[in-house]
Symmetry: D3
């Protein structure tokens, strides 16, 4: 396997196996016309510019087995997270023609999607270069691919927010209303939540920020605030919590938000709407 930025998404190969099954179903009707012994050379070429991600999936599906004849091989010419330009050869190798054709679409579907996420993330990260802010993802991910998409965000220079509902606490307006206030909600959570996870509270006003910090929130989300209010919040309570900016932040506005002094900027578009990075696979 190629080098994965830690932590490696657990059991990512199950998603790949499922995708092959989804595509092949009851059999590859077209591949049957090819001599099963015929071998071919192949390469995967970038058709756009960006940050590559998912090379390990090509390696997983086309890796030489120990029982393969010597002619079988694969070479990864980049590592996940590398910047690439149109025309770059990302992977090349040699294997059975049937096997390569069967895996082609699945490899490209994964690599194009993940590289798209990494590329979009990189654009945001580049915008905030020079600041200490972190660009992080959200839970607005493609169902079934969260672990891989969050890995792609890390490959693009971003960081991970919580993976799901289980490794972090996020108290939103509805939790607050249901508990009767920020303080009550935070206290209730502290009763049962493991001490190993932090408690974040979603705030839309400076009053709420104050209330959250007094209640013992570890992280305060400045939700859909304008940069001016964010700056206020950060100035007032610096050092008392981690500040996360969230809500409708775009490539155009991200730099301004970063300059408010927040620690974290979370962006749903990294994973729900990143356009895929075009690639194709050629055979010889």
């Amino acid at each position: 396997m190629s080098i994965w930025l830690q932590p490696e998404p657990l059991n990512w190969w199950h998603s790949v196996d499922d995708a092959i099954q989804e595509d092949v179903g009851s059999g590859d009707l077209s591949g049957g016309c090819i001599d099963p012994e015929l071998m071919c050379s192949y390469y995967i070429e970038a058709q756009g510019e960006g940050t590559v991600c998912g090379l390990g999936i090509a390696e997983y599906l086309l890796s030489p087995y120990s029982s393969d004849p010597e002619g079988t091989k694969i070479e990864l010419h980049f590592e996940d997270g590398d910047r690439i330009v149109r025309g770059d050869i990302l992977v090349s190798g040699r294997t059975y023609a049937r096997r390569a054709l069967l895996a082609e679409r699945t490899i490209l579907n994964f690599m194009m999607l993940l590289s798209g996420v990494a590329t979009t993330t990189r654009r945001y990260v580049d915008q905030v270069e020079g600041t200490s802010v972190r660009i992080v993802d959200t839970r607005k991910t493609i169902p079934g691919l969260r672990g891989l998409q969050k890995y792609a965000v890390r490959c693009g220079g971003g960081h991970s927010h919580r993976m799901g509902l289980f490794d972090g606490v996020m108290i939103k307006d509805n939790h607050i209303r249901a508990c009767g206030g920020i303080r009550q909600a935070v206290e209730k959570v502290k009763e049962y939540a493991p001490h190993t996870v932090r408690i974040e509270v979603e705030c839309t006003t400076l009053e709420e920020v104050e209330e959250a910090i007094n209640a013992g929130a570890d992280i305060v989300m400045l939700d859909n605030m304008d940069p001016f209010m964010m700056r206020e919040a950060v100035k007032e309570y610096r050092g008392k919590c981690i500040f996360e900016a969230s809500g409708g932040i775009s490539l155009d506005t991200v730099k301004g938000v970063a300059q408010t002094g927040v620690d974290i900027i979370s962006i749903g578009a990294l994973t729900h709407s990143a356009p895929s990075l075009p690639m194709h696979m050629e055979f010889e």
Copy 2:
């Protein structure tokens, strides 16, 4: 369940169950602060304009059980495939607050993605209105979500190409080269393929089109041809096969391609790069 455009994607609820598991993992740490008996009203509201898809997923995750108290209910205000505008209430209902908060993100992740696919498809379909051409999808889908994405394409007025390698034959340049020619490839496939599926041949020149038709191809893919050449092909061989145009066709060019007389236009961007349609879920 709401009405699905046929055929319903088999076992789509497995993807939904998996997505809930992916999100909840070892437990919803935030939801624990809410009284398990507390109920709430909720609604899902469109934040953009387009074609809705995935209403059945909200219904699946928030459907009243027979053992629920009478207060539990859900109402779908649209059907999959309906056009919606910003501010439309898509779904409303009443259920346990914990349950609704736990399902919120998963429902939105599915509905935003699928509605994005339907919306993009509808744009292409609208462009070719008045012609008899079909806009169809490809195998360039998100791993694990092919059945649902292809359903979304149908909701957007598009049609389905083959679901995978198993329900149609596509002879590409590599198959042709491996078999020694178009005729040889088609003949080989006919030896073993079920008579219930059609054979498509990818062609890039008029000579190849002729060769494919003479070999008995049922469908000819005009691959990355310019509209002029497509028109030639259609004129010359009308009635002898189904013509599919493919390769780099955009919203700008799709109408011109449709006017060449082809039967089918396949577009990968419907499923690999459709931006999601924004929605949110509100609680009272």
Copy 3:
């Protein structure tokens, strides 16, 4: 793996693993008396005449691992689809005695069943030798073994009908009645079915055949017609569709049906009632 006639049934080894689990359950109580290091030679011998199928399953369950001592080996003396006679040694090898005894019953259960299907198919195929008709299977298969049984049919010289409800359309009397007529049913199907699959209509009279062809049916099933009526249908509409004869066709009548000029003869008995081909496994 031995050479499979294409397309290889996907993930056939899952059925084999399940069968081992079904047999071994919580442990092989008898095998425990054998020294785990003891090795033995074995062979599988045909106890009847026919066409062999399933050799790959023996190979799968008894294949030498790279970590096995040198003494471990397996040899397949035939290929799937070969004709065999009583006394033929089909497979021979050497492995751990415990392993061979544990796998024995599962291997034989598969090979006897699949060879039975291939043998029965071959008898039908031999009857129609010299004609261009294809003997094909149906969906009347053993639950859970459809892919393997259809592979066995191909090994016996037959061909595959559609694999299931997903890779071909079959409009039966009930569909026709529900839609209000053949034309209406065909038109409805064309609205949503992928263009890659053909539409077949079940017909019992010449009037229905005409109606089906006019409606655009690609395949017409002549259902339980007598050979005289079949000949009429073929004569009248030759070249306008594929003709499939179906219904109660036996080894005695198949040749007569073939001579009517139909393209395809489908026979349920290939898969639902083929007697198994006897074999046994001997150890030394």
Copy 4:
């Protein structure tokens, strides 16, 4: 569910679910033409004479849900194990037309196969009527369907041999050779096998029978012996063990074997080669 002869095969509905999945795959292309709200009446009719088995599978797949409209119903007109004749209506009911058509083939595939097993078993059982001998099955079953096939044997008046390698000990010639003798093999097994299962030894001569009984075998299999030798064995050792006759016993010879005084007759053909009992499903 209908009444099952005990013990009910565990989780038999998993096999049914898998069979539906195998058949429907990515969707029922034909069923899509039927109005999803259309309901129909149906019945399953026997097309041959025998013993019915598998009625619970029809009930499982077509059972009315509590949320169904009142018109939905199913009636089983027989119980598993009942004798039926051609023309008997086995099941009748009313449900959605799409649902019935989708389930039709799977229901019939199971019921025809299982009723075939029950029918064949009943023929053997009838042959030995008046004796106290038990007709039992073997492990020569269809992979994946052992529990259901053994249930069908019980429905036909037969009994079950061990379910697999885990609920009974069978010491065969290879175990004996590997251990150095019958006594050694039995002793080794007794060291580790649970005291709740009996030990059976396969014998081909009277000397072996004596040796097995002296070694403490609970059951002696008289393997491929002629009836004269069986009679000898039973006479000599009556009361010292259970006697099982096995090997090539047919409908013609089973009565003679029963008259030798053995307790058990095991017959592989009950499960590996029983012809299916024809049935069809009609709609109105």
Copy 5:
């Protein structure tokens, strides 16, 4: 379902289903002698004193279905976390005799184990009553039952440490050595770990404690320190991190450790060696 202390262990019923399968295997041979229509009353009685846990499992396995006759019912007489004494009736109800006997062993195996964990936890918690210290569990759990065991700890008045390797960071001596020091390890982790989880460092000396706090550790584990050293650490660095005491703490020593001022005491014996709480199920 009964009331669960939050967060409910996800999909706990899968473990219960698996346990039923493990026990019933190919069928309940004993239960077959009971008339399937026979109903019985039953109750579960404590045979020892402690804290009950797992009532929801009895309810899950014996809950009345909507289609059950009116006679079917179940009553839980306690809630998870309640203290019970010998002779207390925990659950009582009425259902089919076969069903109750089939589920009996599985229910008791779960309830005795989980109540054992809750009871042991309660003993530790009672020892530290009056202090603000939390008794927490560890990852030394029974494979496959971690979620349920940690739930039982909460029922006993304890709290949860991280659920696994994914929802908290624990830097041990080996991580420190591999990274070249505490500071380097903490820094490396901060590069990639989500900001929602805390970083804990295992320390065995006061120097290490200082180093960890300076490096930015959120939690310091005082590993196998004597109470005197713990007190020193707490006094010196109060307010700069959370202090967790760990290593060989018993019922006899836990109070003394609590009095050192640490925030958290983790105890492996809660889950790896808690004796089960005896119960039995009686039928009438």
Copy 6:
């Protein structure tokens, strides 16, 4: 794999894989700080005295793959069932540091639990040394780990009772009452149970013992009888059945029970309350 006492628990590695998944979840957050290429030496050391069990699990999780560099290795210094003392090195080896740290807790959780069971069993077996009685386990096992726990019992010198409800018949008071008497219950079971499993009847008085033997019981359980009554039963009916003593037998009383002449003593505490045997894993 190390040598397993037969029969090997089927598919035990699935439990191990599940335990790894349970622990690692969405990723090992701590392990990420270690250089993925870094290797380490490790050993597992006993911290108590007893009988070891589960060495194969360490081997399974840390076994060198053929593609590993030469430095990777593992050595098992004992075999399952060996007696060990505090300080014994059970396993040692060399592998990637990340891999070893990820597997550490799972390996120890299994080995400590299984060795605890073997150790407790060995204590009972030692108590009855010199008699021919067998110490056997029960169905009072940890859900999901029955096969492995019963294997551990065999490693400790004990034997297996039935694995579950499927490989032995146990007629308890409730079955007897439901059938109307011991004779009726035994007769009913004989009607349907395979002849390969024995029938055991639970008896609490000598009258019941007589009734059970007359009814044809193969095994009689002397349930919660005092040793005097057991001796009576054995004396009176020696040779007519297998005698199993059960109910509240402790290390103190087991020898006395053995001396009554019973064949089998079953003890639930072997599997439901065996304290784990402490071990730890060290790295260099």
